[in-house]
């Protein structure tokens, strides 16, 4: 009458390998520094991972649909700068929707180019990375953007306040993760995203409008980026033009770490969240251990490779598996 047979455990491991890798690192870091799992530290890490996390949620859709998005970091800088600038010009209540609209226009443009003109997503979004950066600099004139009256605005709620002891960025990240996980796993749209990325030809023959699905994935991704920009702007009430620079690679690392295939067709929101948390806790853990900085880059890489290897090895049921 044992609830779990050997096969059950094997199957569970195979499906959730990355989760076990995550637990293994958490234990290792906790042994290295007892404060690692202190509630305020855990809360702090999740809160600062939330911005990256929200972006990774959107990119998960794009990656599952078989495409890439390298423009999200640059786009996040754009939305942060735009909402901060508009805040002082037209007030927060109008600035936020205006920023969302502008950012989603960028997403729609990418979606149009990739979906309807069938251009390679790597090339389109790599180009957009620099184009949007230029757009941001043109908007700001290169200057840092700061809210003039930081005390007299409610704009800080998205980044700084808490509800029942839980910081709002975590609630936004969690809420969005739940909604998008449902959308991906349980709705026709979600299943079409998997279909388009898994086997595009079969999807077409099944009557799935591939172009529209890809287009919508990019719009959804830009919505997530706008949300991240809002959280970022609200958190620091001011920003450099380069605030999101380089985040596109961290986002992609988190999504891939979560096990989504770069070829499309696989991945889940839950695993992406785990990927985001692994990256966040590695960064924080290495700081707490107090490792010399230059070594941290290398160690971060080693840990990511270890996690991916553990994940794959558990799935295959063996550690050693050369290309046959």
């Amino acid at each position: 009458m044992t609830a779990l047979t050997r096969q059950d455990i094997g199957r569970l491991l195979a499906r959730q390998g990355i989760l076990f890798a995550f637990v293994a690192f958490m234990v290792a870091f906790t042994l290295a520094n007892g404060r690692f799992l202190a509630p305020d530290n855990v809360m702090g890490v999740i809160r600062s991972s939330a911005i990256l996390g929200v972006m990774a949620l959107g990119v998960t859709f794009v990656v599952i649909s078989g495409n890439l998005d390298l423009s999200v970091g640059s786009m996040m800088s754009f939305s942060t700068i735009v909402v901060l600038d508009l805040h002082d010009k037209i007030g927060p209540a109008l600035a936020i929707p205006a920023m969302f609209a502008l950012t989603m226009c960028l997403g729609a443009l990418i979606g149009f180019l990739v979906g309807y003109l069938r251009l390679n997503s790597l090339i389109v979004t790599l180009g957009m990375l620099s184009a949007i950066y230029g757009l941001t600099l043109t908007w700001s004139g290169g200057k840092n953007m700061d809210i003039a009256d930081k005390a007299g605005t409610w704009f800080g709620v998205f980044g700084q306040s808490s509800v029942l002891g839980v910081p709002v960025p975590i609630l936004m990240f969690g809420g969005l993760a739940v909604v998008l996980a449902f959308m991906l796993a349980k709705t026709p749209f979600g299943r079409k995203v998997y279909a388009v990325g898994g086997n595009g030809v079969a999807a077409t023959f099944s009557g799935i409008p591939r172009a529209r699905i890809v287009f919508l994935c990019y719009v959804l991704s830009s919505f997530c980026v706008a949300t991240a920009g809002l959280m970022q702007a609200s958190r620091s009430m001011g920003s450099q033009n380069t605030v999101g620079q380089g985040l596109e690679l961290s986002v992609l690392a988190a999504v891939i770490l979560g096990g989504a295939s770069l070829m499309g067709g696989s991945g889940t929101i839950f695993k992406t969240v785990i990927g985001v948390l692994i990256l966040g806790f590695i960064q924080n853990g290495l700081l707490l251990v107090g490792l010399q900085f230059y070594v941290q880059y290398v160690v971060t890489w080693v840990i990511i490779i270890l996690a991916v290897w553990l994940d794959i090895a558990v799935k295959r049921g063996r550690l050693w598996s050369p290309i046959a």
Binding site: L137, K143, N241, L287
Partner: protein, 318 residues
């Protein structure tokens, strides 16, 4: 990955208009900047440089921007040599990689003035003068500001400090850290720097680093940041964690740092004006061309600014 072609074009167009009328005996001075538009300091620097050049009828300035790209900067130096300018001012994108270009200008008999951040020592022979801030002195002065405050508070024997440095490998970051680390034990021998981690000149990154410090250390009396942008990030982290009474000292006083000082949250910094920086570079070039004896390291002064004397300084524009 830097695709900033757009900037160069706009800067070049600005340069054409800035050049204005060329008189026969005008000094033709070319400048190639690091990366205008990437931050407010560089943007303000460029505006100030163009304004100073326009205000002087004897100057015919060619203002270029490398957009952070070493290859483009080298090409720009070669262009300036082709145009037979009288002097070249360079804000290096990379202290090592631009040396061959600087040597080429030197061989062509064109004096080179390095501005803001110096090139590597191997290239010193080809440079007439370096005009910029003395980052080691800045770090030392930040140490003094912090020590004076601790002494005033009576905690100079017990205080613990954390340091958030600039981008690793960046000369300014290394020099400020060195200045601070060397000077602090001289003025306040009992203050300990418990840990140093880089904030990469980035407010958000610095906030994360400070959050980790706050978890790790129960007792933090002071934070030294390599610039105010990072300092304000650290301040935000301390505020969010409810840790009061920490003395924040930075460098390169930014508008946000100035405001935080005015609000009483941030103790002090180093006042470094991009306008002074730009004007000093132009003046150094003019002096070199006029045969005035210019020291190799031609620093412009960057004074201490604290809550006590901030009234003497206008709020930074960046």
């Amino acid at each position: 990955m830097k695709f900033r072609t757009l900037l160069t074009t706009t800067a070049a167009v600005a340069a054409m208009s800035a050049a204005g009328a060329v008189s026969a005996e005008a000094m033709k001075i070319g400048i190639t900047q690091n990366n205008v538009g990437v931050d407010s300091y560089q943007t303000t620097y460029e505006k100030a440089f163009i304004a100073a050049a326009e205000a002087n009828a004897d100057i015919d300035a060619i203002v270029l921007d490398a957009g952070g790209d070493v290859a483009r900067q080298i090409a720009q130096v070669e262009d300036l040599i082709q145009q037979e300018v009288d002097a070249i001012i360079i804000w290096p994108t990379n202290g090592e990689a631009v040396i061959p270009a600087v040597r080429k200008a030197h061989s062509a008999g064109i004096p080179v003035i390095v501005t803001n951040s110096n090139i590597a020592e191997a290239g010193f022979d080809f440079v007439r003068s370096f005009s910029g801030p003395d980052n080691i002195t800045q770090g030392a002065r930040s140490a003094e500001i912090m020590c004076e405050k601790f002494t005033q508070m009576g905690i100079a024997d017990t205080a613990q400090v954390v340091q958030i440095s600039g981008q690793p490998g960046y000369t300014t970051a290394i020099e400020r850290q060195k200045g601070f680390d060397d000077r602090l034990p001289e003025v306040c021998p009992n203050v300990t720097v418990v840990e140093t981690q880089p904030g990469d000149w980035n407010r958000e990154k610095s906030q994360k680093v400070m959050e980790a410090f706050l978890v790790k250390y129960d007792k933090i009396d002071g934070v030294y940041s390599g610039d105010d942008n990072m300092g304000v990030g650290a301040l935000n982290a301390a505020k969010a964690a409810g840790r009061d009474g920490i003395i924040f000292v930075g460098a390169t006083n930014f508008a946000v740092g100035y405001e935080a000082m005015a609000a009483g949250d941030y103790w002090g910094s180093i006042y470094q004006s991009p306008v002074d920086d730009a004007e000093a570079a132009l003046k150094t070039a003019i002096d070199v061309l006029n045969g005035v004896d210019v020291p190799f390291l031609n620093y412009f002064d960057t004074p201490k600014i604290t809550q006590d004397n901030m009234g003497d300084y206008t709020k930074p524009v960046f």
